[in-house]
Amino acid sequence: MKQISWILAWVSYITSIFCLVGAYLPIDIWKILIGIPLLALLLLAIKKLKGNWPIYSIFVIYIFLIVLGLSEGRSLPLVMIGIVCAFTWWDLELFNRNVILDTASEHVEIIQANHLKSLILVIIISVGLMAISSQIHIQLTFWWIFGLSIVAVFGLFFFFYQMKKN
């Protein structure tokens, strides 16, 4: 049972890398040639070093490459699958390192099952919402986008403040 998380994490990681390469492949392959070795290097660091920073770093680099690709008009479905897979890998890798490796009790399998159920729920809802969102094509002026962004940022800060307060 413990192995499932590791296998899922690896499958997610490899899929996300394929999606990234696939999105970039027709043109601008040189950008990926910079990003992929960096991701591989950090992946080695995960095995060698203690702490979670290499996992966070890989995820940040991946998101950066995805955002860069989208801004240059790369394939949206590939990017969407890529981000969900990378996100799954990031979550499972953190969970495996911090919980599974750290636990000797018989409860580990129940905790793992609960975690996987919640993660699958997140993935299903996210993919569904992303698919619906990708079908919406509304042209907005800059000021509309700006206004919505401000609302989103304030919303985030409000949520953050509430969390801290509690």
Binding site: N52, Y56, V60, I63, I66, V67, L70, S71, L76, V79, M80, I83, V84, F87, D91, L94, F95, N98, V99, D102, T103, A104, S105, H107, V108, I110, I111, N114, H115, K117, S118, L119, L121, V122, I123, I125, S126, L129, M130, S133, S134, I138, L140, F142, I145, F146, S149, A152, V153, L156, F159, F160, M163, K164, N166
Partner: protein, 430 residues
């Protein structure tokens, strides 16, 4: 409530929104969806209330440094089901866990309990626990609340007791009660003392038949040396100078071990033993007998730590109740720079003093011992120590120079079986 993971999600969300604004590309905003869903699921699955209790059970309340300690923890959930509970127990400073874990991830269904334990080896000291940290989080480990649940416990870790084989001290006076220290008077001991003419009432088994045969019509009785108990006061030097910080081994720990061994030896021999820990804060235990006294001494020795340096002169003002008249003083000290005057004083009051002096130079790690300058420095330090010890010998202090490459038993055996005891200091110098 938020941890580094959820904070990271917020930062990513913020970054994606800014990127959307800069690039004026709505498709980038789609990337926020998994993160928002992730936060929402985490928040929805977060337990609304907790009702936890914990108990801590110690295998033994008092152990020695080399002994394995065991802590068993039980968590009782009296509230709703908790999917992700991280229990973290405070590990004793310097302790090493040898079996089990001090922290655990648990799943606690409604009204359930869970037990786990761990074994450890710890350093000397008295330690207390008041609480147990329990972190309750959602299944995705995004939001968490830390609770400190009362779970009290106290453990005393005393120094290891080294068994001393034989320590034949000869105090000027003893207490008139049967013990193991030779009193210097004829009595009912085991060591031969002399022969005298038979008196009515003497046991026949004590007759010296050989002498009686040589002198017809006269009877002679063998006499044995009376063995009694004595007043022994142990003085442990706990000033910072007695702790050599240059190596992993602590000179002070050797001193504490020696004091423990001496206390054990003398108390088990039936003597009245007191303890004085000499440091900035003086701790003392008035002389007493028995296992309870040994336990009190061990408790004090468990807690002592090296303190800032103060001169030894203050000893002369201590009340007589701590140092009973004619008590045998056993000082465990590496010898400070201005200690000689205090020993002069104590000798002038009539105390007999044994100075067990662990050699601080024995633990000194000079990396380039072969270099002439280092060699010379080490020799000068040895000479200085030798001269100090010689001066103490001249005023009648019995100096036992403890080289750190020899065990306490070996040092004491060599000292008490050497006819020329002063020789041992010179031997060490050479």
């Amino acid at each position: 409530m938020m941890n580094s993971k959820s904070l990271f999600i917020f930062v990513i969300l913020f970054g994606i929104i800014i990127a959307t604004l800069i690039s004026r590309n709505g498709e980038i905003a789609i990337l926020t969806i998994p993160f928002i869903v992730y936060l929402c699921v985490g928040l929805l699955k977060f337990p609304t209330s907790t009702n936890l209790r914990a108990t801590r059970t110690l295998g033994k309340n008092s152990i020695t440094v080399m002994e394995k300690g065991r802590i068993a923890l039980e968590i009782i959930n009296e509230g709703e089901s908790l999917g992700n509970v991280h229990v973290v127990d405070t590990v004793l400073p310097g302790a090493k866990i040898i079996d089990g874990r001090s922290e655990n991830w648990l799943y606690l269904p409604k009204t359930s309990r869970f037990k786990f334990s761990y074994d450890f080896l710890a350093k000397r000291g008295i330690f207390t626990w008041d609480t147990l940290q329990v972190i309750v989080s959602d299944p995705l480990c995004l939001f968490e609340i830390s609770h400190f649940i009362p779970a009290e416990g106290k453990i005393s870790i005393s120094p290891t007791i080294t068994k001393i084989r034989r320590l034949p001290i000869h105090p000027h006076s003893t207490l008139h009660s049967t013990g193991s220290i030779r009193a210097g008077i004829a009595g009912s001991g085991t060591d031969f003392w002399g022969v005298r003419e038979y008196q009515i009432g003497d046991k026949l088994q004590r007759l010296n038949w050989r002498l009686t045969a040589r002198h017809p019509h006269r009877l002679f009785t063998k006499e044995f040396e009376q063995e009694e108990v004595a007043d022994v006061v142990l003085v442990l030097d706990a000033r910072a100078l007695s702790d050599n910080q240059s190596t992993e081994e602590s000179l002070f720990e050797y001193s504490v071990q020696a004091t423990t061994a001496l206390a054990d030896y003398f108390i088990k021999g039936g003597n009245r033993v007191g303890l004085l820990v000499y440091s900035k804060v003086i701790k003392n235990i008035f002389p007493g007998y028995g296992r309870r006294q040994l336990s009190n001494i061990l408790t004090v020795l468990s807690q002592v730590n090296p303190q800032p340096y103060i001169p030894l002169n203050i000893l002369k003002n201590l009340p007589g109740r701590i140092f009973p008249k004619n008590a045998q003083l056993f000082v465990v000290s590496p010898l400070g720079p201005d200690d000689e005057d205090a020993y002069f004083r104590l000798r002038s009051f009539g105390y007999q003093i044994y100075l067990l002096s662990p050699d601080p130079l024995g633990l000194c790690t000079l990396e380039k011992r072969n270099e002439p300058s280092q060699k010379l420095a080490l020799r000068a330090a040895h000479l200085d120590r030798y001269l100090k010890l010689q001066r103490l010998l001249m005023i009648g202090v019995r100096v036992i120079d403890w080289q750190m490459n020899k065990s306490l038993n070996e040092t004491l055996y060599r000292y008490f079986n050497n006819t020329n005891r002063n020789k041992n200091i010179l031997e060490n110098l050479i």
